[in-house]
């Protein structure tokens, strides 16, 4: 690759963009070209890229005095090299192969570059339907369910986030076959085509960490086709590999008629479950009882080594007394995704799932299977 590159830009902006892009680069990749970030000046644009072959990102930064060329550099080294300076402007250029010159204030730094001969092209997405979505909504959708993704490699469709379109809403779903989380995000989608994709957990995590750097209120465009899922704004382009597979027909398995339903304050519930968690066994087992007679929710746990604890809170209760055991972490996981003050726990009987949702909030539903008594 030609190396006579040169450009001048805002140091803080460069630093910020490198921070975002480097999340994708894989510093332990076998191939040296995939360890670094690729900086390129072409067509009067300064573009910073990285890819781990699953996810690719490109960002453009405003620059002046541009001269075409490219280099690949260790992002951490670049950031450290420019960190200790109060100067705003930075000029990067390359006079000979294998290194770049960084001009900041009156200093001159030479940084070794990496072998870029194997740095691949990041595929551009031209097909597939486009949707305009608020950054906030995507982040909310992903975060509400991502923790429920399976970490096993056996079922790729379960170790992926499932996104589909239900009328005008985007629906984010994840399950590890023990619990299932579904979040609906209102998006006034006009397109009528069906949409249904599976994004591997790791790729989703990468996307999330980049999106979180953006302004929440911004709009981004999402484009989906057979094997790619892309997100872009004027100065950013991210593309993720999606996987093929059939996500379970999960709507069928969500039971409808609750035997008992309980409404309690989210904070209270969270407190007693966390406390019970301290005393739970290595399987994180706690027991939740909805006591219809005394209108109490009781959480208890016994651990041969640590001790035992019983706590009760009051709540509104309809139905009969029911008691199930479950993994306390599974409940705590979902509470952060409930945005109302109170939560509804719906019981369906022994050996049947428990459903957690927010009061008056139909957008989030969480199903968790109990443990054997």
């Amino acid at each position: 690759m030609q190396t006579n590159i040169s450009f001048t830009c805002d140091k803080n902006k460069l630093s910020k963009v490198v921070h975002m892009v480097m999340r994708v680069a894989n510093q332990s990749a076998t191939l040296e070209s995939l360890q670094g970030i690729f900086i390129e000046v072409v067509n009067s644009k300064t573009i910073i890229k990285a890819t781990n072959l699953e996810v690719g990102i490109e960002m453009t930064i405003p620059a002046t005095d541009m001269q075409d060329g490219a280099f690949l550099v260790n992002p951490k080294l670049l950031i450290d090299a420019i960190k200790y300076s109060d100067s705003n402007m930075i000029t990067i250029s390359s006079k000979k192969a294998g290194s770049i010159n960084i001009k900041l204030d009156n200093g001159n730094t030479i940084v070794k570059t990496l072998n870029d001969s194997d740095f691949p092209n990041i595929p551009k997405q031209n097909t597939g339907e486009k949707l305009d979505i608020k950054v906030k909504n995507i982040i909310n959708g992903i975060k509400s369910v991502l923790y429920a993704v399976s970490h096993s490699v056996i079922k790729p469709e379960l170790s992926s986030l499932y996104i589909w379109k239900d009328g005008q809403q985007l629906v984010f779903v994840a399950t590890d076959s023990f619990r299932l989380a579904e979040k609906k995000v209102n998006q006034n989608i006009i397109n009528t085509d069906d949409l249904s994709i599976l994004i591997p957990q790791k790729n989703t995590q990468d996307l999330l960490s980049i999106l979180e750097q953006l302004d929440e209120g911004d709009n981004i465009t999402v484009q989906v086709d057979n094997d790619q899922f892309s997100v872009y704004t004027d100065d950013m382009y991210i593309t993720l590999r999606t996987i093929d597979g059939a996500f379970p027909d999960y709507q069928k398995i969500i039971p409808k008629e609750a035997v008992t339903s309980v409404t309690v304050l989210k904070h209270d519930l969270s407190q007693i479950i966390k406390k019970a968690g301290v005393f739970s066994d290595k399987f994180n087992k706690i027991t939740i009882k909805a006591d219809a007679e005394n209108k109490l929710i009781t959480v208890s746990t016994v651990n041969g080594e640590a001790g035992e604890t019983v706590d009760s809170i009051t709540g509104v209760l309809e139905g009969e007394t029911v008691e199930i055991s479950l993994n306390h972490r599974f409940i705590i996981d979902c509470l952060q995704s409930v945005h109302s003050d109170s939560v509804v726990l719906s019981f369906f009987g022994q050996g049947k799932p428990l459903i957690v949702s927010g009061v008056g909030d139909k957008s989030f539903i969480y199903l968790v299977m109990p443990m054997n008594n």
Partner: protein, 457 residues
């Protein structure tokens, strides 16, 4: 991958080997390692890769090298195409991975039916890999394999019956799953007779009977589980009868399971009874001790857990019949072991078994008399009389045999109960039946069927 592609896979393996020598290790690992040969057609080789980035890269940078290497091996090949394939990476799943799934053995229950395929209702959990074949289900298994080899030709319909928990559903679901695998273009559908009845009722109510008919007539293999539940449902039986004829006439395979032999199913129309028996009727009786040991080992291994041979033998001896009970006991033992954090001692295992066995129902001699008499279409009273008619003597002997063997009543009591007979008569009768059983296949079947009826009392 079909068999016809296997030799071609070797071609790609050879190519990879050569390319490995021409590139750096890092490049090879990154760009080539997970690629697979999809197909070879008209001189074009189609290579599947995992991502679009890889596809573009191979096309841009390695096209010439790959083509040259391939042509060195097979000069007939003109071109190489790269595609992003979902097959890539899938073939790496090994049995070891499958086992790892079970590593965190907890009592955490999975979501029910999450994996059931929406198109065919089959649960992929049921496969022949996990199906233990022993002397008791050898015949049923052989019949299933025959169906797989030549669907709709050898045994149509295949009718599998046996008591609950003997593995009927496992066998027919595994059959469905295997069928899907062997004949990907064929449509399989699994339905319980209860669901079938409901579907039919809803279809009639909503005026969609035509759609119902069309839906079921499109399948190449129809599996109806627990068909005994359509007893006394005349309309559903009529519909099933017509459906059966339609499928049968167009050479589609039909598979039924039930807890009874067609001949002993009550409330079933004769024409349907005839259809059920017209193919292959095979029973899955209770597993024998050796099979129980094998099943136990399988279930224990599924938990990634071990039990010593002695313990397994004890469990297999004490637990008779139902495989579901065996499963329950294994779960219980695994759980108790985990909570105690040490291996269980034999008495502890015995007590788990004692607590989990369902109490055997009290079967009175009168019940047995009634059932056997009914089976041989006799009036029960004639059994108690002192007649030596051949038609009565045989059932009476069978009654004595069952009362002795299965219910465990003493010889003198049996004699007393059956119209005041001497205990030596009873001993003689039992011995006679035992002898006859050795080579009388019909009698074996009859007794098996009678036992099924008694169990379901």
């Amino acid at each position: 991958m079909t068999n016809s592609n296997t030799p071609n896979c070797n071609l790609w393996d050879t190519v990879l080997l050569k390319i490995q020598q021409d590139t750096t290790e890092a490049s090879f690992k990154t760009w080539f390692k997970d690629s697979i040969l999809l197909k070879q057609e008209d001189g074009v080789v189609y290579i599947g890769v995992a991502t679009r980035i890889m596809r573009d890269w191979l096309k841009d940078k390695y096209y010439k090298l790959i083509l040259k290497t391939i042509r060195d091996i097979d000069p007939e090949i003109r071109n190489v195409e790269f595609t992003v394939s979902k097959m890539v990476g899938k073939k790496k799943k090994t049995q070891k991975d499958q086992l790892q799934k079970n590593i965190p053995t907890t009592s955490q229950l999975p979501i029910d039916n999450l994996y059931v395929d929406k198109n065919d209702n089959l649960n992929p959990r049921y496969t022949f890999d996990t199906f233990v074949v022993g002397p008791f289900n050898q015949l049923a298994n052989a019949a299933a394999q025959a169906v797989l080899n030549s669907p709709a030709l050898t045994y149509n319909p295949l009718y599998v019956y046996g008591s609950t928990g003997h593995g009927k559903t496992h066998l027919i679901q595994a059959l469905g799953n295997k069928f899907k695998q062997i004949y990907p273009s064929k449509k399989v559908f699994y339905v319980s007779s209860e669901k079938f009845t409901q579907d039919y009722a809803t279809a009639v109510q909503t005026g969609r009977a035509k759609q119902f008919k069309d839906k079921y007539r499109q399948y190449d293999v129809l599996i109806v589980d627990d068909v005994q539940f359509i007893a006394d449902k005349e309309k559903t039986q009529e519909e099933l009868f017509h459906l059966f004829n339609a499928l049968y006439d167009s050479n589609k395979q039909i598979i039924f399971s039930s807890d009874k032999h067609p001949n002993t199913m009550k409330g079933l129309e004769d024409r349907l009874r005839g259809r059920f028996s017209s193919g292959m009727v095979t029973e899955i009786p209770a597993p024998d001790t050796d099979s129980r040991i094998a099943i136990l080992k399988e279930k224990v291994a599924a938990h990634n857990f071990t039990l010593d041979t002695k313990t397994i033998e004890v469990i297999a001896k004490e637990l008779r019949g139902n495989i579901r009970d065996i499963e329950g006991i294994v779960n219980n033992i695994v759980l108790t072991t985990q909570s105690k954090g040490r291996d269980l001692r034999l008495p502890e295992i015995r007590s788990i078994i004692q607590n989990n066995i369902r109490p055997t129902k009290n079967i009175t001699p009168k019940d047995v008399v009634d059932i056997v008499a009914d089976y041989y279409t006799l009036t029960p009273t004639i059994i108690y009389e002192k007649t030596r008619k051949k038609e009565v003597v045989k059932p009476r002997q069978i009654i004595m045999y069952i009362l002795r063997e299965d219910v465990g009543i003493s010889y003198p009591t049996i004699g007393e109960q059956l119209g005041g007979r001497d205990h030596t008569t009873v001993i003689h009768s039992c011995d006679r039946v035992r002898k006859m059983l050795e080579d009388d296949f019909v009698l074996q079947q009859e007794i098996d069927q009678i036992r099924t009826i008694i169990r379901d009392l």
